[in-house]
Symmetry: C2
Subunit: 340 residues, 2 copies
Amino acid sequence: MKLSFHPIALHLKHTFRIAREIRDVQNTVIIQLNDEDGICGYGEAAPTTFFGEDSNSVMETFGRAAGLLENADPFQIEDITARLAYTFPQDTAARAAIDMALHDLVARKLKIPLYKLFGLNQHDTRVTSFTIGIDTIEKMCEKVEEAKDFPVLKIKAGTRNDIEILEELRKITKAVFRVDANTGWTVNEAIEKLHIMEELGVELVEQPFPAGDIESLRKIRGQVKIPVFADEDVKISADIPGLLGVVDGINIKLMKCGGIREAVRMIHTARVHGLKIMIGCNIESSLSVTAAAHIMSLVDYVDLDGHLLITNDPYAGVMVNKGRLLLPEGNGLGVFQKTE
Amino acid sequence: MKLSFHPIALHLKHTFRIAREIRDVQNTVIIQLNDEDGICGYGEAAPTTFFGEDSNSVMETFGRAAGLLENADPFQIEDITARLAYTFPQDTAARAAIDMALHDLVARKLKIPLYKLFGLNQHDTRVTSFTIGIDTIEKMCEKVEEAKDFPVLKIKAGTRNDIEILEELRKITKAVFRVDANTGWTVNEAIEKLHIMEELGVELVEQPFPAGDIESLRKIRGQVKIPVFADEDVKISADIPGLLGVVDGINIKLMKCGGIREAVRMIHTARVHGLKIMIGCNIESSLSVTAAAHIMSLVDYVDLDGHLLITNDPYAGVMVNKGRLLLPEGNGLGVFQKTE
């Protein structure tokens, strides 16, 4: 297989602000894997500096991975992804792009949509949440108005006025709220805020405390009713044992874990332990969001709106109808490049 | 899909004796799933009364499952197997047959060998152990002579003279020994015997205590050096959490867990927790043994010799060369019926 790649800049509709960062652009890198039969698989890496990657590191990894892929059999996804994980342990977004390109390529060779390769039912769909980034209350209310087609909203929190924001938003929408604190809270703050949030229709909260602060998770256990999900705390399947008994669910992202294959391993492990499962994304184009959507029927909650938060999505794939994700029918990922 | 089935009687080369039973015949049931394109998938149920199934219960389950499969899409393996697990929770051998027939059918439709559907490398093979059933020491020595091509032997134990047997067998072979106590020991007996077995080249021991006796497993933890594997204690993935910290590995069998799909879930979960993984079988024909062999590259130890212990295997599939399993190259399971 031949690997080629190029960076793209995704422009955000609204300046993206979460508890720890603020930005207007997400740089991602698109890859193409061509096999000797002239069939091609596509992937996307949407790196985050929080996990130590950026578009430059991703492209460097692709350059180094190209040799490893040159003589590989695309059907041997297990071996290839294991070798990549061994060689590039920290480069999960780069590996996710290769993993999805391999899956795209193989499913295209077999002339089936990717979900069929996994034995899944495309009609078993999920409703995605739509993300409302941190802003002035006025602007957040505007965003909620714009998102009125979405029955589930993910409200970014982790500021002093989280409660005030939620109270104001609740006045203008009946949508289900999921709250993402993005590591922004302390223990007392979490308990206090979550108690109030119980009355505000909050379905779950993500990552209240800094990554690795399992002790704080343990402290609020039994003190709050709203289910607590790990996000920054759980990158790969190996992180799951340390979270047993302290969270109710995990947020899996292809860019954190290194691809669809590891995502499925995480899903299987989490299920055995009775953890609820969310699949999420970064700011990404429709290419990698669609890759994640192909396995949505395996999870409980979906937060796949990265492609809806940008103005210049170069791809079309998964469609959204009142929040419900609909998989494309094409072979492989079923994603195609928009022509304009 | 149309489901049809017929029972077969597999005749054992040697009377099979383990700690709790003795017999000369294994009755299994062969199924055939035909889809509307005229493509066909095969499966086999090799039930054990220990887990509450026999060929009659299996055939009754097939009769009831036929309606459920009639209008199902074979590609939706996840949904179909989940529905079967819900409807027939205890009928794991029956479900294993349907699960493997679905995988066979789908891979045949895609014109690929099954291992490719799982992204696996057929060249990453394993050496199977060969089972030496309980008998007089003289007869066991004869069986070991017959098995001289196999570098790994699984010695059935659970009798008074386990040590005497192993000492005699060790005199005539340099093969690696794995010991299967099949629930036959007490705590003191296990500690005493395993200490002696350390010097006799025993690689691992399976299921020393009665199924469900986790307390005894806990008691020998740290007291013995030979790795302890659960077999009767672990049917499905949900059994794994209860074994964490008390065993070193698990023995997965399609007939216990309900099929390839659940086996993969168990493998993923066990890996995350650092458990070693064996894939084993009952007395079975080459049909279902080959199904298990397709995922051998995902596990550490293989005990797939069920088809080698019978005189009238109606099928040919996985081949064995000095213990090493070689997958067939045909589509689906790659198994064909022998003509004589």
